[in-house]
């Protein structure tokens, strides 16, 4: 259908539209008009992706000069593929409606592992191996060597691409990963480099967060993307953690050992080169004297995306003298390593700020701040000069040099924690140096600064106002959309008491309480008897789950549950978990019924959807607070309090509730789906917790379903499940939660739609 969104003609490839989609597009259009950033929350399964795509594509077509590119960031490869498929549908609709052939270029980009077509390299199993092998075949000096000695192996796909691929741009069309591979095979071009090259002139790019947020990758891939692009972060409820992870460094004793061997190799290579080709090293030296001026020029003319690891000041200066020659630099690295080793030899926990660390390193081994800042750049230059093919082996030393640069660059927003052992195993020495980023805005800042509009969207972003605060940006729109429903297909219940009136809670004091554990067991048992097919139960942590399940076993609860359903358990092992998932789905499929016990923040809670019968009920045992004794967390909380005036408790609750919402949101993946959401903890009934749930869940929690006992919850669930089992067809939705064009354009409906978006 063709929609008119405040004067913009939008092609929407379906005959029906959900009211909230229309509302979402309105808000999105306003954000783009204002050339600002937006935070939009819309429940999963209501067609977020297609709304985003159709509006932005329409915008691109209408104002080709104002928005040149859409950068769509998603989390996983399957999600990326889904986006591309939606896009393909949209483009087909366009060409059908307008009769013109499509002149849009859209493509997905993923790692070499997913795109390589080289017969040997693509057979490798791990991403790192593929990257390393690819690099050893395509690095510039390898290819240069081939001119003199033709038996050096190179990748013929890359050669072919390099020879002809750059002249002709990729023909317009929609390319997912497989399409790119097919195209590459047909032409004999390397799909990975083709894609990387093509994103510069593509209209739409779909790739993973890391290509934009992780400074190491962003520098390679996304540096030259046009400034007037629209960036969308989908499923962005965890974006702050992604930012933090991309800037944090953990150093263990093993890293240091490997680093040591790295440095030794470097030294040997330098020695060798010195004998054979001293001129090369001299040339490098000269280049370093000149400094990184060229890079600086590029950045000032605003061609590049800023790299947070490489701060602006560095670019203006020349590399300091004491690390300019290769030997000196290696010596410098060695000293730095020894220092780190000595720091790891502590017996007690140390926490210090970056300036403290710098002072200490200066006192102990006389390393200045300035050379440290150049460490990362200097190492890159050395590796290039030494023509070391397999960069994968040098990950350890790269990590250390990144650490050196970061620690000397940022005096704020980072903390250094050295722990001699893990909290759980105080007897085993396993020293770790955490260099942890506490400020997610550091990594994402260049993105906000560079691009004209950045949209952060997800099914669960509540409370909306906290994201702009922790990411430090000013959005022009913040809106939360509810789900319009023809029938109430979600049933959130807060179970606060057992049948014996014992308060249910996973809080620390009552965690070991026998009565609580028994009542939790009772809840699961009763639910297993009345909920058909699949139930997913989430615990707050693996330890807690182990304890509870062990004591259920002793009390015989587990045996009783097994009469109703089979039980599967998520473990930290990925292979085991995917096996359990597969069997779980099978059991749901053939009527035996199953329960999956899993952990909030685990793999299941983030990435797996439990559509229809795979998840008729989700039970959340306890509030999934993060492990509050962790020193990294404490440091972060302190930082948030000092810098952003966010109270510890607010942040912890926010974090717990967004994970709880993620978990229970697994059950509802669309309007025809239905599911129970059971929050089994007294604390959910409190306004401060409840108020932080997404609006589309919150509005279905009425006062009557607040502090229920297990029995009451069972009665309500039974009733709900029977209601939901009644036949439900598309016609029942029409006009209420599903609209045709005429219905949409009626005055009454437009008024209703205006109420869907909830501005904050």
């Amino acid at each position: 259908m063709k929609l008119n969104i405040e004067g913009l003609l939008v092609y929407f490839p379906y005959d029906y539209i959900y009211p909230e989609q229309y509302s979402y597009m309105l808000e999105l259009k306003r954000t783009l008009d204002a050339k600002g950033h937006g935070v939009l929350e819309m429940p999963s399964g209501t067609g977020k992706t297609i709304s985003l795509l159709s509006l932005i594509v329409a915008y691109q077509k209408a104002f080709p000069l104002e928005v040149t590119k859409l950068i769509y960031c998603s989390r996983t490869v399957p999600e990326i593929e889904k986006v591309v498929e939606e896009l393909r549908k949209l483009m087909e609709f366009y060409s059908k409606q307008t009769g013109e052939s499509n002149n849009f270029l859209a493509l997905a980009l993923s790692s070499r592992k997913n795109l390589c077509i080289h017969p040997e390299v693509s057979a490798l199993r791990f991403g790192k191996e593929v990257d390393g092998k690819c690099h050893s075949l395509t690095a510039s000096y390898i290819r240069a060597q081939r001119h003199s000695t033709p038996d050096v192996p190179v990748c013929r796909f890359y050669e072919e691409f390099d020879a002809v691929g750059r002249q002709v741009p990729l023909p317009a069309g929609i390319y997912n990963l497989d399409d790119l591979k097919d195209f590459g095979r047909r032409k004999g071009w390397c799909p990975y480099y083709l894609a990387r090259y093509s994103i510069l002139h593509a209209n739409i790019v779909v790739y993973s967060y890391h290509y934009l947020l992780d400074p190491k990758i962003a520098d390679l891939v996304s540096k030259e993307l046009a400034k007037n692009s629209v960036v969308v972060f989908d499923e962005a409820h965890n974006i702050d953690n992604v930012c933090i992870d991309s800037m944090s460094v953990n150093i263990t004793r093993r890293t240091l050992d490997r680093c040591h061997t790295n440095v030794d190799t470097l030294q040997n290579t330098i020695q060798k080169i010195k004998e054979t080709d001293a001129a090369k090293l001299k040339m490098e030296y000269r280049r370093l004297v000149e400094g990184l001026k060229e890079a600086n020029v590029a950045r000032e003319t605003d061609v590049y995306l800023a790299n947070p690891v490489l701060p602006d000041e560095i670019l203006k200066e020349a590399v300091p003298g004491n690390i300019r020659t290769a030997e000196h630099f290696v010596g410098f690295l060695k000293r730095f390593l020894e220092y780190l080793k000595s720091r790891l030899r502590v017996q007690h926990v140390v926490q210090e700020s970056a300036p403290q660390f710098l002072k200490d390193i200066f006192d102990k081994v006389c390393i200045d701040r300035k050379p440290l800042r150049f460490c990362a750049e200097r190492l890159q230059s050395l590796l290039r000069t030494l023509e070391i093919a397999d960069i994968a082996d040098f990950s350890a030393v790269t990590l250390i040099s990144n650490f050196a640069t970061l620690v000397s660059t940022y005096s704020q927003g980072f903390t250094i924690i050295i722990e001699p052992f893990e909290d759980r195993t105080p007897t085993i020495a396993n020293p770790v140096l955490h260099f942890s980023c506490m400020d997610p805005s550091i990594a994402i800042k260049p993105v906000f600064q560079r691009f004209q509009s950045v949209i952060i969207t997800s099914g669960t972003l509540s409370p909306l106002d906290i994201y702009p605060r922790i990411l430090d940006f000013r959005p022009v729109t913040m809106a939360s959309f509810t789900m319009t429903l023809a029938r109430t297909c979600l049933c959130p219940l807060i179970v606060g008491r057992g049948n014996d009136q014992v308060a249910l809670s996973s809080k620390f004091e009552t965690r070991e309480d026998f009565a609580v554990i028994r009542n939790y067991g009772n809840l699961l048992l009763e639910m297993s008897a009345i909920v058909p097919d699949g139930i997913v139960a989430f615990f707050t942590s693996y330890v807690y789950m182990e304890n509870i399940v062990a004591s259920w076993y002793e009390q015989g609860i587990l045996e009783n549950i097994q009469r109703n359903k089979l039980i599967f358990i998520e473990t930290p092992d990925a292979a085991e978990t995917s096996m359990a998932l597969e069997k779980y789905q099978e059991a749901c499929e053939n009527g035996r019924g199953a329960i999956l016990l899993s952990v909030a923040r685990g793999k299941v809670s983030e990435g797996i959807d439990f559509v229809h019968h795979f998840g008729r009920a989700v039970i959340m045992f306890g509030v999934p607070y993060v492990y509050t004794q962790s020193r990294i967390l404490k440091a972060r909380l302190e930082y948030l309090r000092d810098q952003f005036q966010i109270r510890e408790n607010d942040f912890l609750t926010f974090d717990a509730m967004r994970h709880a919402a993620q978990c229970v949101g697994r059950a509802i993946r669309g309007k025809t789906d239905y599911g129970l959401m059971i929050f089994a903890d007294k604390r959910y009934a409190r306004a401060d917790k409840r108020g932080k749930l997404p609006r589309w869940i919150q509005e279905h929690i009425n006062d009557g379903s607040l502090n229920l006992t297990v029995d009451e919850a069972v009665q309500l669930s039974k009733h709900f499940l029977r209601q939901m089992a009644q036949p439900f067809r598309q016609e029942d939705q029409l006009g209420l939660s599903l609209l045709t064009l005429e219905q949409l354009e009626s005055e009454e409906m437009l008024q209703k739609i205006a109420k869907i978006a909830h501005q904050t």
Partner: protein
């Protein structure tokens, strides 16, 4: 004091929210919407059934009754099992009333096994007796859909191709304990053209959805007892025959009821070939082919295999073939004359009225359903025909 020894004390019973039933629903809350949808589907059913379709008038139906642990649940009063059996009794009566030339068999499943309660037969009394006796069964273990279907297939697959083969499962449990993969069995059922329908007593189970969708049956879940009854009665009506079922002429006998004493003075009571209570009697139906004697119709002759029916039986299933046309629904505002239902003489208060297309009489919703479900003819049309 011990007038109700069976009933549990109030505080021992389940937790109920009786006030929820009475909930007002201005905001389009759950109950209102679901009920609206139900009403619509009720009407739809009436409308859908009208069309010239071939119906499978000779039905072979196996009813599978779940007797697993979950049947002891007390959400139907006094418990699910008793309530189900009671409703089934009326169902059996109704079934034979509407489908006199069909047969029915009962299967129970519990403790992972399936047992035959009664064989496929055409006599309602035997089934009713079996159902009465089954009230005392102990419910235990899990049901097995696979085993019950398998048991039903064993007899159904030998039934002739022109008859319809149906299985109706009344499932209370939410789990099934199967010895093998049920998907294979579903394929077999599909190839044998067995139609499986399920009535769920608790919630929607995926495997039943698949089972019914694949075999062309229906799947419903009850809301309460009256809804349960309604759903059961849906299965009384013969389903449309699949287009691929064979056509063949069927030999039928129409025996007259004769009492020997009227014609012959020294007649002696004789044994009947089959019946509920075998014994000596004077009168009976004699098979026109082999003169075997039966006390009741319809029956399949034990001696020569001829189907024996009486003419009224056939006539009774007649209305399925020529159903009453659907009445035209229109909003009550458009209706100008006196707002009274022609049937019950009550005032038309609902928002829509129903008009008979042939005599233009006006009816209310309740009467519309009553006429279509039970009378099968428009009372006003009949009245105008017989008047002159």
């Amino acid at each position: 004091m011990d007038e109700e020894p069976e009933r549990a004390k109030r505080w021992e019973g389940g937790y109920e929210r009786t006030w929820e039933v009475l909930k007002e629903d201005e905001s389009g809350s759950l109950k209102a919407t679901v009920e609206e949808i139900l009403f619509q589907s009720k009407r739809k059913r009436v409308i859908e059934s009208h069309g010239q379709v071939r119906l499978g008038m000779m039905r072979h139906l196996h009813v599978v009754i779940d007797c697993s642990r979950s049947m002891e649940d007390q959400d139907l009063k006094p418990n699910r099992l008793t309530s189900t059996l009671k409703l089934l009794e009326t169902f059996v009566d109704e079934y034979f009333d509407q489908n006199p030339i069909s047969q029915l068999g009962l299967i129970t499943t519990k403790n992972k096994r399936a047992e035959k309660l009664t064989d496929l037969a055409g006599n309602p009394k035997k089934h009713a007796a079996a159902l009465k006796k089954a009230v005392d069964t102990v419910c235990l273990g899990e049901p097995s859909i696979y085993n019950s279907l398998n048991l039903a297939i064993q007899t159904l697959k030998h039934m002739p191709g022109h008859t319809s083969r149906e299985i109706l499962i009344i499932l209370s449990s939410l789990t099934t304990c199967d010895p093998a993969n049920i998907c294979e069995l579903i394929k077999t059922l599909k190839s044998l053209k067995v139609r499986v329908s399920v009535i769920g007593l608790s919630a929607e189970v995926r495997v039943c959805t698949v089972l019914t969708r694949e075999t062309g049956g229906s799947y419903h879940v009850i809301l309460d007892e009256s809804h349960f009854k309604e759903l059961l009665m849906l299965h009384v009506k013969p389903p449309p025959a699949s287009s691929s079922s064979e056509c063949s002429l069927i030999r039928m006998g129409f025996p007259q009821h004769t009492i020997a004493s009227l014609t012959d003075q020294d007649a002696k009571p004789s044994f009947t070939a089959s019946g509920v209570a075998p014994g000596l009697s004077l009168g009976g139906y004699f098979c026109p082919q082999c003169h075997a004697k039966y006390t009741e119709l319809p029956v399949e002759c034990k001696v020569c295999g001829l189907t024996l029916v009486s003419a009224p039986h056939l006539a009774r299933s007649f209305h399925h073939l020529f159903p009453l046309q659907a009445f035209i629904e229109s909003p009550v505002e458009e209706f100008q004359e006196d707002r009274f239902c022609q049937a019950c003489q009550g005032e038309l208060k609902d928002k829509s009225i129903f008009t008979c297309p042939s005599c233009r009489s006006v009816f209310c919703v309740e009467c519309d359903l009553f006429i279509h479900d039970l009378l099968h003819c428009c009372p006003c049309c009949i009245h105008s025909q017989s008047a002159p």
